[in-house]
Subunit: 426 residues, 2 copies
């Protein structure tokens, strides 16, 4: 009896899922382990955070995605460690042995050594982050409507977004739309249009990975919808009432973190050499030095492209790495030689700024404004998983476009308060 190779993939994000799919025809038992039951389409998390989409519109059960793949098993559990010598991963229900291991655990927010800020300035990585931010934004308006104190009203209606990359720009534009359009006529005591939205970037310009002209377009468009952009501005502290800057203070009811990421702590299991962002250094075949059967893909891997530039932590890069490793393992299992190193192909950068405004850079092509926005919308619908979700997201966008309304303006209990902890709600 031949031994069927056991492949364990930890993490079902873009990298892990593509890796599993690339193993479809391999003579292997593929086990995908994730602590969530769903794969989340992170590029649209900001739309959940700003009430345009429901969580289920951008999340799919991992096991449903892999249902047709008979050699794949999905386990929802927490991996607690890896023993590279014994070739097994440790979970709460016991150890699972592997012949090949793929670490695809992604990244988390980096607060530059101040993890305590995460309490006051959530980022957007998981569905729960998005519903938490949604709650915070909607509660700010609700509470401003009931509090008598005008200074407190002003603070509540101040929204700070830290980080001027794609996520920060998208959040700032979306919050401006919520305040100036969606909620404009819903309140009686406050005017939601008076909300103060501030986007803070440490570097000299927004969207640093885009061409200068598109950065300037983003700045102009955000200013037009009332977002105040502060470049070359450093945040030195986040607390419950706002942020300290190097030169000043902003009192704010909501602070959102879009400034930096660090590799998932999961990679520490490997005791491998990591770069400053915590990403594991891997060889040109994405394997770990000394362990040709262990691979790292996506945001957890430190890889450079042909030009020596670090491969960015974006979905297409993670997918390319996942597919590469899946094919490599398939070849090895089949006894085929595999010499091709991983080559990253940069497809482009996209960011939407709001209604009818986005910036797109695809090779030599630069798009902005309405045509960029149409391109952005079609690309995102295309990359969603499942016909149902494509249809529902397209419908929600169409409806939002026509009516200026957002269908998911729902405040639900925060994760740290039980169903009866009502007093903490307002």
């Amino acid at each position: 009896m031949t031994h069927r190779a056991k492949v364990i993939i930890v993490g079902a994000g873009f990298g892990g899922l593509e890796c599993a799919k690339a193993l479809e025809r391999a003579e292997a038992d593929v086990t995908v382990i994730d602590r969530e039951n769903h794969h989340c389409f992170q590029p649209l998390l900001y739309q959940v955070a700003t009430a345009a989409l429901s969580p289920a519109d951008i999340a799919w059960p991992i096991r449903h995605i892999l249902r047709p793949q008979r050699n794949a098993t999905v386990l929802m559990e927490e991996v607690r460690g890896v023993s590279p010598q014994k070739k097994c991963v440790h979970t709460q229900f016991g150890d699972i042995a592997y012949d090949y291991l793929v670490i695809a655990t992604g990244s988390t927010h980096s607060y530059f050594g101040h993890d305590e800020w995460s309490r006051y300035a959530p980022g957007l990585k998981r569905i729960e982050d998005a519903t938490r931010v949604r709650r915070s934004i909607l509660i700010a308006f609700e509470r401003a409507e009931v509090v008598p104190d005008q200074d407190e009203q002003r603070r509540l209606l101040t929204f700070v977004i830290v980080g001027g990359g794609a996520t920060g720009v998208e959040m700032a534009g979306a919050i401006a739309e919520v305040a100036r359009q969606t909620l404009a006529a819903d309140f009686r005591r406050i005017d939601p249009r008076s909300a103060h939205i501030i986007l803070i970037e440490a570097g000299p310009r927004l969207l640093p990975t885009f061409p200068l002209g598109l950065s300037e377009y983003a700045l102009k468009t955000l200013s037009r919808v009332g977002v105040e952009v502060k470049t070359e501005t450093l945040v030195t502290k986040c607390d419950a009432n706002g942020v300290d800057l190097k030169d000043g203070r902003i009192d704010a009811g909501t602070v959102i973190w879009a400034a930096g990421v660090t590799a998932s702590p999961a990679v520490r299991w490997l005791n491998a050499e990591a770069d400053r962002a915590g990403r594991v250094k891997v060889g040109s075949d994405l394997s770990l030095s000394g362990y040709p059967e262990i691979f790292v893909v996506g945001d957890t891997a430190a890889v450079t492209d042909k030009g020596g530039q670090p491969v960015p932590g974006i979905a297409p890069a993670a997918k390319q790495m996942g597919t590469y490793v899946g094919k490599l393992i398939s070849a090895r299992i089949a006894g085929r030689e595999w010499k091709k190193p991983f080559r990253y192909m940069h497809l482009g950068d996209l960011a939407t700024i709001g209604r009818r405004a986005a910036v797109v850079k695809l090779g030599p092509l630069e798009l902005k404004g309405f045509i960029g926005w149409v391109f952005w919308s079609i690309a995102h619908i295309y990359f969603l998983i499942g016909l149902r979700n494509r249809f529902v997201v397209a419908f929600n966008w169409f409806w939002d476009y026509l009516t200026f309304q957002r269908g998911a303006r729902l405040i639900t209990d925060p994760p740290d308060v039980g169903g009866s902890g009502r007093d903490a709600k307002v």
Copy 2:
């Protein structure tokens, strides 16, 4: 200057909202206070709990519903008490005076004096209840797939629903669909179709308010899809691992409470005479004895119909009471005489059992099976608020009907665990 009457409505459920709308043309300042930002369409909560719909599909921001009504203000805050003598309500941000007060705070679950059971056997009243139950059902299958112990697998795949009224029947039928159809092919180690679904009713038959023939049809249909129905069975205890019966024990991973309701504790503010279910006894004009300016509507009011039967705690009854009180207050404000007592008109009873099966009793008309199911579906779409939600719910049902899939199979963190409390997740 004439004094503009101040009307406060506490609670924006079916009763409170209808009352506010009936005051649209009154010379009054209408203030609607709710601790949630949304009105929830409770009849479809079980569909959120069974992953067919997303929370936002059945919930709307209260202030958006009342946006066109210029004399209405919506406040999201917690009412902490009422001073009938001083004519004001107490909230966390101060006191608010009223000329007319409408209490429409609804009902909550009754555990027959065992409130500690609520921890193990959640009911369905709020959006958070539904996502909690959804989480519990989906986690049960996920966990059964990973645990090695077969007894524990069997326990996890046992679902107990306590209470054989409409909600209990609907939940049991929907869980059976999830297990036998939606999830059937998604697992590798367990067979979801082996799930054991048990519906427990204390009385002699399911759906006691329906004609006997429809009860029998519900029993037959549930049995056909694999639900075990136990009538004349009393639950004597709920704990973390299942339920004790008067004569036996069921080990179960999920217990859902659909057995009884009690009036919201809010009515205790009034120090008024209440019936056994905690509902306030009101006069034939729904006002409180001795306080002609205080009204109680919906599930919090103890009212009898023409035949001396108690008015049931269902949406149409709450709406009728809300409209009645809104009209009465409008008349009084306008100086018109109002002598008409409240008359409840029973429109009928509906319950769905699952795919292509529902029971409907409308006056002399009895429907069951496919035609009942079509009627049930159209009626529920009709009563939803907002074109967008009607469209989205209809689309989701249509999709579910064609594909047997449910679009919202999402496990998110439970309310009592923070975002980092991962270990508690599986």
